[in-house]
Symmetry: C2
Subunit: 408 residues, 2 copies
């Protein structure tokens, strides 16, 4: 039951119904492809006549194509329809502290080209380099189809609406208008998003469903930091200033260890990779100098190594992992109590130890969840598909094609 915003609404025109139904048709085809016109009509509960017209329009717009003739036990054989994603391309960029990844992929996330290079921290240089790099990729990979935009995933706070990077401590970027600069340099539309939320968008838009895709879920990525994305009614929660979803800095204990954000006791300061390592090595995060912190990030010993030791029988390593697991579960209880999602997707290095920590996480979640059902909220490990961040960045450009038209 949504209230109509009387200051900002859209009245229905005579083409609104068609717009809505065309978009629904596109999504149903996307979900069930390959699919015939008749089957589409049944799925949509409209007559074959209407479905035929909608399909014709989608064909004219080059959004779908007619494939092979299908099989049928009786009667005329159907012509099957497919989404045309192969010749709609995106440049996806994932900027991280150490490396920057650039991928050219199609609208379904299929990779055409990929390269990684040392991150360039100077903004003008970064922009110039990226523009050149994109041109080169197109040339060397003989890419003929049109590139429709550039999507960037950035580790930090981003105002997606304005394309401004508010604060990306890992990169040392603050109040940077990266979008417009990059758009000017490349002549392409650019969208920027926080990397955690980008991953969430990948799950929402690019995960084609063996199982039913949930419309209400939360993504939690545990890495150097903790990235969270909240999806409510099939829409990413962005908030009034487009900075919503920061569960990472919800306190577990106001007097807890100091966090990179300046506050103390944040969830992130209990479960980030650095926190887990600190627990093992006996570092005091609060007193960790920026230099040492830097070294730890660069260091060769990662959480993956820690997990390997835990598996090998190192009791101290196992204890560190289990403690992180417990705090992970306790924090998830907060997510469940506040958002009450259908399920939660977990991601990050720590999830490679899921067989070791599942019980601990689930128990901790049940401990603080307010209802039994909440405590049983399914926890899924985000698909092991490669480069979730890059896929998320691609979704930034691909999603608008499929999104529901705004109405009322």
């Amino acid at each position: 039951m949504r209230k109509i915003n009387t200051r900002d609404f859209r009245v229905a025109t005579r083409s609104t119904s068609r717009d809505i139904n065309r978009r629904i048709a596109l999504n149903v085809i996307h979900e069930h492809q390959p699919i015939s016109r008749a089957e589409l009509a049944r799925q949509m509960n409209v007559t074959r006549g209407v479905a035929g017209v909608l399909v014709q329009e989608l064909l004219d717009q080059d959004l779908i194509y007619e494939g092979a003739t299908g099989e049928a036990a009786f009667g005329r054989k159907p012509t099957l329809l497919h989404i045309k994603s192969h010749d709609r391309l995106v440049v996806a960029v994932d900027i991280r502290f150490s490396k920057t990844f650039v991928m050219v992929c199609d609208f379904s996330g299929r990779q055409l080209a990929l390269e990684a290079y040392d991150t360039i921290f100077s903004i003008p240089e970064f922009v110039r380099d990226l523009a050149a790099r994109v041109r080169r990729l197109i040339k060397t990979h003989a890419i003929t189809a049109g590139i429709e935009g550039i999507g960037l995933a950035v580790p930090g706070m981003v105002d997606q609406r304005t394309g401004r990077i508010l604060n990306a401590p890992a990169l040392g970027w603050r109040a940077v208008d990266l979008r417009n600069q990059l758009a000017a340099a490349t002549g392409l539309p650019v969208e920027i998003e926080n990397s955690g939320r980008a991953c969430t968008l990948a799950l929402l838009w690019l995960e084609r469903g063996e199982t039913t895709q949930p419309q209400n879920f939360v993504y939690v990525g545990v890495s150097d930091g903790v990235g969270v994305g909240i999806v409510v009614n099939g829409e990413l929660l962005r908030g009034s200033d487009h900075i919503a979803g920061e569960f990472a800095h919800v306190p577990l204990n106001l007097d807890g260890p100091r966090c990179m954000c300046g506050a103390s006791g944040c969830w992130e300061s209990y479960i980030s990779n650095l926190a887990t390592l600190s627990r093992y090595f006996g570092w005091d995060l609060s007193k960790l100098s920026p230099n040492k912190l830097h070294d730890a990030k660069q260091g060769s010993f990662t959480v993956l190594d820690l997990i390997a030791r835990a598996r090998a029988g190192d009791a101290k390593a196992m204890a560190a992992v289990q403690t992180t697991a417990r705090f992970l579960g306790l924090g998830l209880a907060t997510v469940v109590n506040v958002i009450n999602p259908e399920c939660i997707y977990l991601d990050g290095e720590i999830t490679t130890a899921w067989d070791l920590i599942e019980t601990t996480v689930t128990l901790a979640l049940g401990e603080r969840a307010l209802t039994e059902r909440g405590g049983q909220t399914p926890l899924h490990i985000a698909s092991t598909q490669e480069y979730p961040r890059l896929r998320g960045a691609a979704a930034l450009i691909a999603a608008p094609t499929f999104a529901a038209p705004r109405v009322a």
Copy 2:
């Protein structure tokens, strides 16, 4: 950018456009009444012809009426349109530990009759009594207009969809299907909601705007417990099991005082009225026996008295209030970081001391908010209008008339 749910969507029919626009018209009239057809057309950005037809339909449906002829400097004078809310009535019920309130009011929340009585804890008796009470109220107040439903606000967890009370500790009710029983006894539609969320609905649906009504806000009511309602895009966040929004039991400190919910360190256990009183009297909440807790609730010394002492110069009382204020602000920071609302509405006894605590609350909020803008999220004291819970209960029945039609 919303994803279309391919398992559950609504295709547009040839009447969908009209449905959308009629509903928009109703809302614009509601917001700007009294308003002429021509002005409505301008506000909606449609031709006067369409506006005329929409108005005629709303007149036929008895949702609006033509009032007096308005004034205009030039030309033909407009006939002004008004929302017809006076003869559409609701029974609103607010069940609390000590008293139950029953109000008959119209769709705009205007009170026609009100009575309070000792809460009946036996469900069958409660139902029988309430049915009889409603009949009596109608008779004694000579109410002729139709009553369109009963809305209940209950202190506890409610699944609004099924109308089941999951757990209302204050009343000792657990897993009760109150809605169907009450509907059977009265023959009226019944809607039940948690009292905090009911207040939120009142703010969303019944607050007619001097200022622009926000579409994204959070309501926080501090009383015996803490009730929170989250509004995202003009829609109350209900979650997958309809139990979302429980910020009350987000921990400020995992090792904090024991909370009524069983966990420890919940926000509620730091800022509820009982917590504030305990701070003053030096009670240890963790060790407080249920009996004593009961007495404290019944006790004659309330938070209002405490605030009075603080104003009178009692340093200990002031300290207790200020400590609560600080924890209130710290918890609000979590709300801001996660939801990032346009504003937050505060309610409850403690807000009568707003002049004393505003600085403390704002400082604490700024301390843990991740962005400067977040720390400056406007905090409003929920309108002092009487009986917010009852108005919220009424909104449960009145809102569907104005809600946006579901599409796509």
